[in-house]
Amino acid sequence: MAVSGLIFIGFVLTHMYGNLKAFAGEESFNEYAHHLRTIGEPMLPESGLLWVIRLVLIVSLVVHVSSALILARRAGAARTVKYAVKKNKHSSISSRTMRWGGLTILVFLVWHLLNFTIVKVNPSGGETDNPYQLMVDTFDLWWMTLIYLAAMAALALHLHHGTFSAMQTLGWTNSAAARTRARTAGWVLAIVIAGGFSLVPIFVLLGVID
């Protein structure tokens, strides 16, 4: 679970960075989208590396979601009679909403892939072959932007706890200082990644990117 989570973190970090190319303009962004498909050539066929990455991501997703399911099922069985009153003292909201947050991200992901890669649905009915245009068209719709921003909020929460949790699961937090560092890393990643992703939709909506 921790490993798949960390792979996700690595992926979203690069993905976020890639998205920021939108600020560099249409050409730069599309070139990047194209580049994604050509790295490794001619050693690898077209989209070769991309498929390698996709494969890793798919495997991670399967591992991640199935671990999440197993943990959820075990937790459910571990306490079948609930408390009438239960307080939470020091845990963060993010830590207690990992399952919901994860589910939200999963639902978002399905739509996101339909939106941008698999079907390339352009909700405003515009062209779909130009990734940049697809993106701009999408976020020109305020409610699409809202959906994305909501998903980013879920992602932020998930990352806030997930980063710390992964380090704890991997046994890297054997002292109070290390634990504090891991918690800080959670904050930083949550803000940087979710914030970074959010910039593009917001700026599209505001018309800075078009």
Binding site: A75, A78, A84, H90, S91, R96, T169, L170, G171
Partner: protein, 247 residues
Amino acid sequence: MRLTLKIWRQENASAQGALQTYDLDGISADMSFLEMLDVLNEKLQGEGQEPVAFDHDCREGICGTCSLMINGEAHGPEVTTTCQLHMRSFNDGDTITIEPWRADAFPVVRDLIVDRSAFDRIIQSGGFISANTGSAPEANSVPAPRDKAMRAFNVATCIGCGACVAACPNGSASLFMGAKITHLGELPQGQPERYSRVVDMVAQHDHEGFGGCTNIGECASACPKEIPLDVISQLNKDLRDAMRMGL
């Protein structure tokens, strides 16, 4: 002070339980929480009702027997055991809900008493150092670095009360288990069995029906002995090292 108590009453393991409401007057702030329950029980018996069964023994915060969920907090609002909690932590007119630890691995035995023998079985699976009586070398022949000995001691103070399980949203006993693994793993004497110990204990833990840890951290804040979360990290580290060794 005057209190309204909502207490879980359950005849035995297989019976259906429910919260019952009792009014209690004349409680002083100097009483311990359990003495408050003693007063309730004397009153109930006076009225011909069976007293509330609850677990306790030392009343000194060290045996780990007492185990009440008080207003949704394991051992109540202070960082201490139920028996060391005093009524000055409450106010006149308060309503206090008292429930047993809730975990399927800790079945309710009666009223507020649960069966924690799962903890014994986790220790049986590996929570020891194999040193037969009489085979021990001279104590000072194996020095233990002071900082490691201190860490071992700090986590060896676990009283096996189960508050960590009670507080954990996943019903996990990772803090309890991590405390033992860290205690024995920090000492030179604990090294030979270090990796088989963690594998066996985790297997037993899962087998008992405790939930998996997702690092929420409620356990450590409920722990009356302030066992820190890093014991769970240590457990994970040792487990990972063990897996790498193919155990």
